[in-house]
Amino acid sequence: TAAAPRPWRLFGAMCLLRPPRITQPLEKEEEEIAALMGQIELEKSHYSDHEIRKLEEEEQLRRRKESMYDDDEAPGKTVIMAQDLEDKWEQKLLRFEAAPRITDADKSNNRTSLDRKLDSNLMLLVKQKVGNQELWLLPQVEWQPGETLRSTAERAMAMFLGDHIQAKILGNAPYGIYKYKFPRAIRTEDNVGAKVFFFKAFLQSSDLSQAELKEDYLWVAKDELGDYLKSEYLKKVNRFLLD
């Protein structure tokens, strides 16, 4: 005899994370300790080759100036001195410009761009129609019998972002589950409610030049999730999000 069909509808949802590209700034205590440790290491350290060479050359210069040595050693030496090297390196350093940590997208708070918070995880939120409401959700798609839940989640991702996403799902097990019952009006014998299984994927490349299907998508950090998701949904989602 066939098993009775379950009353729950299954959905697979994909939580697409963009991993942070920069480390977070240090706290005040961390900075103080780092400075202190640097000081201790500096005082405990020995001279390196370059510094010894520099000191020796300074000594020689001083001796030559004071006692007017015959410049016997000068023709044998090459002209490059340690001090010159240091000056050259300093100039090179001054010419180097690091990329800004706070990008334009940060300043304008443009939540649809990936460049925003470079030091925290960003998640993809899409506006989807569930029942008769338009809600902000993690992209989800209904499960079809015969496919694994993970492939459902991959399908959801492909549906919203196109096929060529370089996102990596780490394992086959879902990270979280959210189940809800439909309001009594829609509830039938076969259709009590829905269960949404969450999977996590990491964006390998931050190149999303392919067209996006829906216009309303957002890349949102963890603390901003509360602005968009409903409280119950948010609670379940927060359970599997690391910071």
């Binding site: 920069i22 995880n121 780490l170 394992g171 097990a173």
Partner: protein, 174 residues
């Protein structure tokens, strides 16, 4: 006074050898020089456990890499994952030469050393592996490359030195 207060008992004393215990322990087999340890666990299937997994960390900065390797090791200890080995691969030195072509050709050198540390783990269940990977990934320091792969013979052999005389003799035999 200092001579008399020595704790060793002389052979004629009745208490001689009072602290001996090594004869009570079970006999250890003598250590062989060749270690041909090849453990392969059940990988895919009903067991859902990974075999030996290597976590390789490479960087130019030795302190960072070592501290990160220690952090990963301690993390696995705390999560009661068995750590088989934690070793370092030999460092590779790269010399960077600049060829400035403005008048006199000058070559400025920079010497970069690449360090690699490997932590070998076994007994990862497939439900826990993605969580561990995510933790390690998110706590990666700047400038450290992370590579997680399964342990193969090639990895094992890469730690051993090649013996040219042995290979020559083998080639001659064949």
């Amino acid at each position: 006074d200092a001579l008399v207060s020595c704790h060793r008992h002389y052979k004629s004393r009745p208490t001689h050898g009072i602290g001996r215990f090594k004869y009570l322990l079970p006999k250890e087999a003598p250590k062989k020089k060749k270690d041909k340890v090849q453990m392969k666990e059940i990988n895919v299937g009903t067991e859902h456990e990974y075999g030996d997994v290597n976590i390789q960390m490479t960087s130019y900065d030795m302190c960072l890499v070592e501290h990160f390797a220690q952090y990963v090791h301690k993390l696995c200890n705390r999560l009661s994952i068995r750590v088989n080995e934690s070793y370092a691969m030999p460092t590779k030195t790269n010399e960077v030469l600049f060829l400035e072509e403005r008048g006199s050709k000058m070559q400025l050198d920079a010497v970069l050393t690449t360090h690699q540390r490997v932590v070998q783990i076994s007994g990862l269940s497939s439900t826990f592996a993605p969580i561990l990977l995510e933790i390690i990934q998110s706590s990666q320091p700047e400038g450290v490359h992370l590579l997680v792969k399964e342990h193969t013979e090639a990895d094992f052999k890469s730690r051993l030195k090649s013996r040219p005389e042995l290979e020559e003799l083998l080639a001659q035999m064949n």
